[in-house]
């Protein structure tokens, strides 16, 4: 049976002034998948995610559709309300708001099932329950990443986009975060994962795209990418 396409990006071109950041990016994410977008620093990973979530100006050309409907010129809050949640690089929690307030804002546009969703998030990350009255800024880096992820889950997203969730975290915390992403996916959330830690991302993803200088240069299943000699050499740190 063919899977439903959640997100389809076609020939996306984006420029920051005179800098051509994305050149004809095309990718697809199907329902229930974890799709990894890997690449080096400045390759265009974050720009791709921010184009999808409407955080940047409209692209030069190309289309982005969500469940078949174009979202390319919609505002970020409307896109989020449709069910696309992005966990930003660097976490971007509201540092002066309590953990509970941060989580409640995740559900800003979706109040149904609030209590059960909060319970789900607390089950995933018990430390957030323990610290619910603390200001977000007082949490450790790992806890802040959990909060950012939990906050995104509060809206019960149809597509969860994560930008560099492992950035700046200790290996043990990274392992924990990736286990949680796998669990969240098994519980029914489709995930688009952007990572420089390519090995960790491909280990949990179904498929992957390799982006370089604003172009998709390779796409395949994660297993094939993990065994691809070029990918091994350029992105997995293997000789």
């Amino acid at each position: 049976m063919e899977k439903t396409t959640v997100l389809k990006v076609e020939d996306l071109d984006y420029k920051y002034g005179s800098i051509h950041a994305l050149r004809g990016i095309s990718l697809e994410v199907n329902e229930g998948e974890i799709v990894a977008l890997i690449g080096g620093n400045g390759a265009g990973k974050t720009t791709t995610l921010r184009c999808i979530s409407g955080l940047l100006d409209a692209p030069e050309s190309g289309n982005i559709s969500f469940y078949g409907e174009s979202i390319v010129k919609q505002k970020s809050d409307k896109i989020a309300a449709r069910g696309i949640m992005q966990v930003l690089e660097g976490r971007h929690i509201f540092s002066k708001l309590t953990v509970k307030e941060n989580l409640s804002l995740g559900a800003f546009n979706r109040q149904a099932d609030y209590a059960s969703t909060l319970q789900y998030v607390y089950t995933l990350f018990p430390v957030l329950k323990e610290r619910e009255q603390q200001e977000g800024g007082t949490l450790s880096g790992g806890e802040q990443q959990m909060l950012a992820l939990g906050r995104a889950l509060m809206s019960k997203p149809k597509l969860l986009m994560m930008d560099e969730p492992s950035l700046g975290l200790a290996p043990i915390i990274v392992r924990n975060i990736f286990e949680m992403i796998t669990k969240i996916n098994k519980d029914g959330t489709t995930v688009l994962l952007v990572e420089q830690n390519s090995k960790a991302a491909l280990n949990i993803a179904d498929r992957g795209y390799v982006i370089e200088s604003g172009r998709i240069i390779l796409t395949d299943t994660s297993n094939n990418l993990l065994n691809n000699e070029e990918v091994k050499k350029s992105y997995l740190g293997e000789k």
């Binding site: 949640m85 941060n102 804002l105 995104a152």
Partner: protein
């Protein structure tokens, strides 16, 4: 009483700064505008007090929304230098003053008595009931604002958008809306202040200038951008003025208030609530 008026103005400064990182010098003239609106509704249209103040708040809110949506946002979008945006707010305050002069003229207007009774005796002191009312209403306005910002979903989203607009956008929060509501609230607070001070000091074109500056001083002393700091700073300025007038001379109350501001800027630039007022290295 004057401390509570400064408090309303200072909270407006803090709200705007925390929401958009901007300094608006229209607060004083918005106070004057609110006072003239109150005068029009209460004295000339003969509307009841509650309706007059409600209408004033509503119109002033819309004025704030208009200023943000049609002037400030356009400048921010055009990536205007911050100093030019501040200058634009100064220009706007001149426009507001001239507009008020065209509509209401340049005379000093007296508000009709709100209370028919004379002074109220509290202990050995006779107090004007209008002043008591002003303090009570200002206090209620602050409480409502505190409740709105901390206990409502929209208020929480406003605080979130002020702290991190990028993250707020990913949470389906309409940051444009939270910003114009913030400017609307700041303007409404100035309108309430104008309506409350009008019956005590009279209504005229220059009434907002000094109060606006003192409200700014209060916001800095409290910790610029911190709503609660603004209230504390306002009461400090109010007390400094009152004690200067009582024990030195009322001639010096302005100069001493601003000396206190300068002292804070030198010795404790982050204010009582330790706000970030300088760019970090």
């Amino acid at each position: 009483m004057i401390g509570s008026i400064y408090g309303l103005i200072a909270m407006g400064y803090s709200l705007i700064y925390s929401a958009s990182g901007l300094l608006s010098f229209t607060q004083g003239e918005l106070l004057m505008f609110g006072a003239f609106l109150g005068l029009t509704f209460y004295k000339y249209a003969n509307l009841p007090f509650v309706i007059s103040i409600t209408l004033t708040i509503a119109i002033m809110f819309m004025v704030g929304v208009f200023i943000e949506s049609f002037i400030i946002r356009k400048l921010v979008k055009a990536k205007a230098n911050l100093i030019f945006i501040v200058l634009a707010t100064i220009a706007l305050s001149i426009v507001l003053k001239n507009f008020a002069m065209l509509v209401w003229g340049s005379n000093v207007f007296q508000f009709p008595q709100i209370f028919k009774t004379g002074f109220v005796k509290i202990g050995d002191v006779n107090v004007d009931p209008t002043s008591i009312m002003a303090i009570v209403i200002a206090f209620i306005a602050m409480l409502i604002l505190h409740f709105f910002m901390n206990k409502t979903r929209f208020g929480t989203s406003m605080r979130a958008a002020a702290q991190n607009p990028l993250a707020a956008k990913t949470m389906a929060i309409n940051v444009s809306r939270t910003t114009y509501v913030t400017w609307g609230l700041a303007s409404a607070l100035a309108g309430i202040a104008g309506f409350l001070i009008g019956p005590v000091y009279g209504v005229h074109l220059e009434m907002g200038t000094m109060i606006g500056l003192k409200g700014f001083a209060a916001a800095v002393i409290g910790g610029y951008g911190n709503m609660y700091g603004a209230i504390i700073g306002s009461f400090i300025i109010g007390l400094v003025e009152t004690f200067t007038a009582a024990y030195i001379s009322s001639i010096y109350k302005d100069v001493i208030s601003f000396l206190v501001l300068i002292a804070f800027l030198i010795l404790k630039p982050r204010g009582i609530f330790n706000s970030k007022v300088y760019d970090e290295e």
